[in-house]
Symmetry: C2
């Protein structure tokens, strides 16, 4: 299997130091080999400032990464710069975008077995003409996939969730929910769980929108009008979907064993339980793409970048999950 | 201190067996003495069916409960009936209401140091003319407190939350939120934490309504228009309120140490993290009442009543919390 490509994210954020930390943990974490896309000089400096002994091995071809990985962090030649943690600017945005673009391309070509993306600052990227709301939409476009068919899944050791609606005001959520949208998200997610996690018949628990699942229409009708028809359609197609489940019961410890994935109606419904339970190990995985893509479920954290405070758990988990998904796809 | 009154809840639910279980655990859990309000015969049968050895001590005055409690579960004379778990009817609703009414009266008179209410079925109670949406509203009325001034707090070992809006459709939440309502809920809750938990300067974290706290108005304006003014008003009055905090970050393990209470904008925002973290030990406490009132944060669970499956953790926690709050009020 080819090595994984790891993009730097905004080099003024915590991405570079976490890649170095992750490499140091590669043996005990059982990680697949990965290489950083660009940034040899700034990665070396990020390791130094964090007090880490991470040898950097410049490579000119991703195929060299496998052999180099056991002894050093392989870094593919590419955009590089000064390491200025906490000070994002257009130069750091350029490096982030170059790393993301190149890593995506390598994954699409098969020269990398997948891409693990580092955290970027959307506002900073927008200043250099990046027009996507986030990396997921960039990746969907690069893969020639419609934006709504790239499905964000949050995965931690205790829970996997998919939000049906994502970045919109809570007041807009009810109006954005449709039976088609819910059914489509669930189908893509079920296929992703089969392909990338080896779950033959994924159990999909669909959350209700309203408290107590609307209590028979007393607190809202979206369950009966929108969500139940989606579940019925999925079941008719052979997908093991259940619900709508009252959200407060769905994430209780004994309930979590009853499903492989919880499909949620809005951002915080999916993110609140995940971060409450699995904060330092949450992975954001994009399902529905022809390539494997994961990222740590946190931002650039400019405020703590370069200070040795950022926790590497989510980055390590993202690399492990990408490696396992890539191996599973190869075996199919 | 007087003993606590424990109402039976609907006797066809899991209330009676859990009171018996709780009594069995009273020593190791360090519970304050309590007595059941009515139902001596059905409690004895609930214990028998669950295989518990719980001696029942009928009492005719709450003042007898203290002395009896170490050796037996004291039960005040009152409505009683056959134990028919899983089969609620108007007779079981009558027993539930009589127990609740009498227990509330005893707490108001000071003959009981507080009330721990058992789970009732609202639909079943409605059939016998109970017109309140739930027990909390009944208690507010009995205490001559305006309904909106009785504040529901959910409390577990890891987290305390207060929902600003409770039982309404999610689509109605934005329209129901006002600066006055949020500030009022926070003030009552802060006073409750002082009075019942001995927290001199409670740290109140106020959750945002929208994902990423609206991201500067990109995903909704309620943070700037409604929530921030409430926080400013509270701070001007000397209450340590912070926020609006993005909800997904607010319940992460490291964040939970930064506040004593999270005030949430809607039901599931408050209940999802609480039940994910503290499912079998969640207590519902009503703040703002002249009496101490707690209950286990679960329903009647008719489906498992009488089968020995119901977990007593929340009932035990509710009795403990009520006893501690009552003792603290006495000491003030």
């Amino acid at each position: 299997m080819a090595a994984l490509a790891a993009s730097l994210g905004d080099p003024a954020g915590i991405g570079p130091e976490l890649l170095c930390e992750a490499w140091l943990h590669h043996r005990e974490a059982g990680m697949a080999p990965f290489f950083a896309v660009g940034g040899a000089k700034l990665l070396a400096e990020a390791a130094r400032q964090r007090g880490l002994n991470v040898p950097i091995q410049p490579i000119s071809d991703p195929a060299e990464a496998q052999a180099a990985f056991a002894q050093a962090l392989p870094v593919l030649g590419g955009d590089d710069g000064e390491y200025r943690p906490g000070s994002p600017d257009t130069a750091s945005a350029q490096i982030a975008l170059a790393s993301l673009t190149k890593g995506t391309q390598l994954a699409l070509e098969g020269a990398a077995s997948g891409i693990v993306t580092g955290p970027v600052a959307k506002a900073n990227l927008a200043q250099i003409g990046f027009t996507y709301p986030g990396q997921t939409e960039f990746l969907a476009d690069a893969c020639a996939i419609a934006e709504q068919d790239a499905v964000m899944m949050l995965a931690g050791p205790q829970l996997k969730t998919v939000p049906v609606t994502v970045h919109c005001a809570l007041s807009e959520v009810p109006g954005r929910l449709t039976t088609d949208l819910i059914a489509s998200r669930c189908k893509i997610a079920a296929e992703g769980l089969r392909k990338d996690f080896g779950i033959a018949n994924p159990r999909i628990a669909v959350a209700a929108l309203n408290p107590h699942a609307g209590e028979g229409g007393k607190f809202g009708h979206e369950e009966a009008d929108i969500i139940e028809p989606a579940i019925a359609r999925l079941r008719a197609e052979g997908i093991d979907a259940t619900g709508p489940h009252p959200a407060d019961a769905l994430f209780a410890p004994h309930a979590r064993g009853n499903y492989d994935l919880a499909v949620c109606m809005y951002h915080d419904q999916a993110l609140v339980p995940l971060k409450a339970l699995d904060f330092d190990a949450g992975v954001n995985m994009t399902l529905g793409l022809p390539i494997v893509r994961t990222s740590a479920d946190h931002g650039t954290a400019f405020g703590i970048a370069g200070k040795g405070l950022a926790q590497p758990g989510a980055t390590i988990a993202a690399i492990r999950m990408a490696g396992e998904a890539a191996a599973r796809r190869l075996g199919q």
